[in-house]
C-alpha cells in the first residue's frame, strides 16, 4: 500500500519537474554526442593522415618514375639508339622535304 503510494509520489514529482527532466536528458544526449563526434573526428583524422601518407608514397613513386622516364628518353640516348640500333639517319639537304600548310 505504502509502496504504491511511493511510486505515485515519485512519478508525480517527476511530472512536476518534467522540464528539468527534459533538460537532463538533453544534457545526457549532448554528452554522448560529444563523445561520438570526437570519436568520429579522430577516425577521420587517422584516415586523413593515412591518405596523406599514401599521397607522399605516390609522389615519391611519381618522382622516381619521372626520373626514370627522363633518363630513358634523354635526347642523346634516343638519338644514339636510333642511329646504332635502328640504322636511322637525320635527313638533311635534298632529303629534307618541307610540307607547308597554306
Amino acid at each position: 500500500m505504502s509502496a504504491i503510494k511511493l511510486n505515485r509520489l515519485i512519478l508525480s514529482d517527476i511530472w512536476q519537474h518534467k522540464f528539468l527532466l527534459v533538460l537532463m536528458l538533453c544534457c545526457l544526449g549532448s554528452a554522448l554526442a560529444v563523445v561520438e563526434f570526437t570519436h568520429m573526428n579522430r577516425q577521420l583524422t587517422i584516415h586523413e593522415d593515412k591518405v596523406l601518407q599514401h599521397r607522399d608514397t605516390l609522389e615519391m613513386e611519381w618522382r622516381n618514375l619521372l626520373l626514370e622516364q627522363r633518363a630513358l628518353s634523354e635526347h642523346s640516348r634516343v638519338e644514339e639508339l636510333a642511329v646504332t640500333k635502328l640504322n636511322m639517319v637525320r635527313p638533311s639537304g635534298p632529303q629534307d622535304v618541307v610540307v607547308q600548310e597554306p
Binding site: 579522430r42 615519391m60 618522382r63 626520373l67 638533311s92 639537304g93 635534298p94 618541307v98 610540307v99 607547308q100
Partner: protein, 584 residues
C-alpha cells in the same frame, strides 16, 4: 559501525540505548573531512595552481610536430622537360647513447650486417659511433639507397634511426651540368642556377602539430601552418639542342686535343639562350673525384681575345658612319703594312678588296684601314653599343664580361689591333649577343636564360639595312672562296666568321690558340646565332675554320630542324599542302 548486539544481559538492558561517544565521532568526522579536503586540495593544486607540469608531461608523450618538407622545385627546359628533379631519400643516423647502452644485447651478426650495408668495417662503425654516451646524434650515411634503408630497418638495431631527406638528380647528366650547377648534401645550391635561384627553388616546410594516441596514430590536429611551396624554374634552354651542342662540342674537343670548349646558341628574336654547353664537363649526379675547375661555366666566366670573329664590328662601324659602302674598294696591298710603328699582316696578299672580300678573306689590313678611317670614339662606339665590355643580361653568377679599356689617346696600332680582335677581351656569351644583334636586323636584346612570353626591350644599335648587308657578307665567308667552308649546313643558307687568336701568355703571346666560329642561320630570315669556342687545340689543326666551324655546322643544322625552320637553300624541296584534309 553497527555493533552486533551482545548476548542479552538482564542488568544491562537499560544501557542498550546507543550513545554517541563524542570524541570518536569527532575523530571520524575530522578524519573523513581531512581525507576529502586533502583530495580536493590536491586536485585543485594539480588542476588550478600547477597544471603546467602535467600538461607538459602529457604533451611530451602525445604531441608531435610534423614537418612536411616541401621538395626542392624542379628545373625545366623550354618544352617542360625536367632537367633537375628532387627525390625523397633517407639518411641513416645513430643515437650513440642508445646504441652503447644496448651494445651487449645486439647480436654480433646484425652488427656486422649493418657495417656491411654501410660499406665500412665493424671497427670503423664502432669508431663512428664513438664511446661517448652523452652524444645523441651521429650520421652513419647520408642519402642512402632505399634498398639499404629497407635492409637496415629489418635489422632492428636499437639506436639506429632514419631521417627523411631529398636528393637531387639530373637526368641529362653532364649535358646540362655547367648551366644547372648542383646542390650539396643539405639540398643547398652550390653552383650555377641551383645556387643563384636557391631561394626560389627552396620552399618552406609546412608545420603541423598533432596529437598521437598510444598506437602512434594521429588523432587530433592542433595547429597547422602552411608552408611555402617551392617554385619550378623554366629555362629558355631547349634540351634537344643542348644535347646536340654538347655532343658535337665534346667530339671536337677530343678530336683536336683541346683543353676546353664552349658552345652558345641564342634565339636572335628575343635573346633567349637555347643551348649553353662546355666541355669537358662532369657528372653532377656523382661528383666524386671531380676536379673543381671543371665546375666552371667557361662560356660565361672565361674571357679571351676574340680575334677575327669580331671583324663584323669595324665593317659595321664604317658602314654606319658612312665612310664605306658596299661598293667601296680598299687596297690591302701585298705585304705587311706598318701601322703606328708596328707591322700588321695578312696571311696572303689580297690586293684590292671590297667589304665582302675583306670579310671573306678575313683581311687584317682591310679592317685596320676601315677602323683608322674613323674617329677613334666613333669606331669604338660600335663595340660598346654591341655590348663589348658590358654584361649580357643573363645575370648568372660568375659571369665575367670582357674588358675594353678606355684610353684618353688611342694609338693607331692599338686601334688596329682592336679592329681585328686583340687588345680587348670578351666571353662566349658576349660574342653570341653580338651575332644575335646582327641576325636580328640590328636590334640588340639582353640575353636571357629564362623562357618568357614577353618580348624584352630591345635597342637598335645598327640600321636594318647594314645589319642585313652584314648577314649577306657573313654568308660569303661560308661560301666558296671563304675561310669557313666547313661551316656550311646542307639545306640551309648560313653565315658566320671564323677566328683564330693567339692566346696571351706571360710576356707576350704564347703558341696556344683559340679557334672560334660565330655564325647566324638561316641567312634568309635569321633565327639563331651560334658561337663555338675551341680553346687550345693541340693537334695540327687550330684554325677556327677547321676546329670550330664543323661544330657550328652540326649544331645549327640540328637546331634549325628541331626548331622547325624551313630549309632556305635553293635545292630544298618545299611541298605545299592544300586544305587541312591531308594534315596529320
Amino acid at each position: 559501525m553497527i555493533k552486533k548486539p551482545a548476548a542479552p544481559k538482564k542488568q544491562a538492558k537499560k544501557n542498550q540505548q546507543p550513545t554517541v561517544i563524542s570524541w570518536r565521532f569527532a575523530f571520524v568526522i575530522i578524519s573523513l573531512f581531512a581525507v576529502f579536503s586533502g583530495l580536493i586540495i590536491r586536485a585543485a593544486y594539480l588542476q588550478v595552481l600547477e597544471p603546467e607540469m602535467l600538461l607538459e608531461q602529457g604533451d611530451m608523450r602525445t604531441l608531435r610536430v610534423k614537418s612536411d618538407a616541401a621538395m626542392r622545385g624542379m628545373i625545366l627546359d623550354r618544352n617542360g622537360e625536367e632537367l633537375a628533379v628532387s627525390v625523397p631519400v633517407q639518411s641513416i643516423w645513430a643515437d650513440p647513447q642508445l646504441v652503447l647502452r644496448n651494445r651487449h644485447k645486439i647480436d654480433e651478426r646484425r652488427w656486422h650486417a649493418l657495417a656491411d650495408m654501410l660499406q665500412i668495417s665493424p671497427q670503423q662503425l664502432s669508431d663512428k659511433i664513438g664511446g661517448d654516451d652523452s652524444k645523441r646524434f651521429v650520421y652513419l650515411q647520408r642519402q642512402a639507397s632505399p634498398a639499404t634503408v629497407d635492409y637496415i630497418k629489418q635489422l632492428k638495431i636499437p639506436g639506429i634511426a632514419f631521417q627523411q631527406e631529398s636528393r637531387r638528380y639530373y637526368p641529362a647528366g653532364e649535358v646540362t651540368a655547367h648551366l644547372l650547377g648542383f646542390t650539396n648534401v643539405d639540398d643547398q645550391g652550390m653552383e650555377g642556377i641551383e645556387r643563384q635561384f636557391n631561394d626560389v627553388l627552396t620552399g618552406k616546410p609546412a608545420l603541423k602539430t598533432v596529437r598521437k594516441d598510444a598506437k602512434g596514430r594521429e588523432i587530433e590536429v592542433l595547429s597547422q601552418t602552411n608552408g611555402q611551396a617551392s617554385n619550378n624554374i623554366q629555362l629558355s634552354i631547349d634540351q634537344r639542342i643542348q644535347a646536340v651542342a654538347y655532343r658535337e662540342l665534346k667530339k671536337a674537343v677530343m678530336q683536336f686535343g683541346a683543353t676546353s670548349g664552349s658552345v652558345v646558341v641564342v634565339d636572335v628574336h628575343n635573346g633567349e639562350v637555347l643551348a649553353l654547353a662546355n666541355a669537358p664537363s662532369y657528372n653532377p649526379n656523382n661528383r666524386k673525384n671531380t676536379d673543381s675547375n671543371r665546375y666552371r661555366n667557361r662560356a660565361i666566366t672565361d674571357t679571351f681575345e676574340p680575334g677575327s670573329t669580331i671583324k663584323p664590328l669595324p665593317v659595321l662601324a664604317a658602314l654606319e658612319n658612312g665612310t664605306a659602302t658596299m661598293d667601296t674598294v680598299i687596297s690591302t696591298g701585298y705585304g705587311p703594312v706598318r701601322i703606328g710603328g708596328r707591322l700588321v699582316r695578312d696571311i696572303n696578299g689580297y690586293g684590292d678588296l671590297d667589304l665582302t672580300g675583306i670579310m671573306r678573306k678575313s683581311s687584317n689590313i682591310g679592317v685596320t684601314r676601315l677602323a683608322l678611317g674613323l674617329p677613334p670614339e666613333k669606331f669604338l662606339d660600335m663595340y660598346y653599343k654591341m655590348g663589348v665590355g658590358a654584361e649580357t643580361g643573363l645575370g648568372l653568377t660568375g659571369e665575367t664580361p670582357g674588358v675594353l679599356r678606355e684610353q684618353r689617346r688611342w694609338g693607331e696600332h692599338a686601334l688596329a689591333t682592336i679592329s681585328f680582335g686583340y687588345s680587348f677581351t670578351v666571353n662566349a656569351v658576349q660574342l653570341a649577343r653580338i651575332y644575335a644583334t646582327i641576325g636580328n636586323g640590328g636590334v640588340s636584346y639582353p640575353l636571357s636564360i629564362f623562357k618568357s612570353d614577353k618580348k624584352p626591350l630591345g635597342e637598335r644599335v645598327v640600321s636594318e639595312e647594314h645589319a642585313d648587308n652584314m648577314v649577306t657578307m657573313l654568308e660569303a665567308v661560308v661560301g666558296p672562296g671563304g675561310s669557313a667552308k666547313k661551316a656550311a649546313v646542307p639545306g640551309y643558307r648560313v653565315g658566320g666568321k671564323t677566328g683564330t687568336a693567339k692566346k696571351a701568355g706571360i710576356g707576350g703571346y704564347s703558341s696556344d690558340y683559340i679557334g672560334s666560329f660565330a655564325g647566324i642561320a638561316p641567312v634568309s630570315n635569321p633565327r639563331i646565332a651560334v658561337v663555338v669556342i675551341i680553346n687550345e687545340p693541340s693537334g695540327d689543326y687550330y684554325y677556327g675554320g677547321e676546329v670550330a666551324a664543323p661544330v657550328f655546322s652540326a649544331v645549327s643544322g640540328a637546331a634549325l630542324q628541331l626548331l622547325n625552320v624551313a630549309p632556305d637553300a635553293n635545292d630544298s624541296r618545299i611541298t605545299k599542302v592544300s586544305g587541312v584534309a591531308n594534315a596529320g
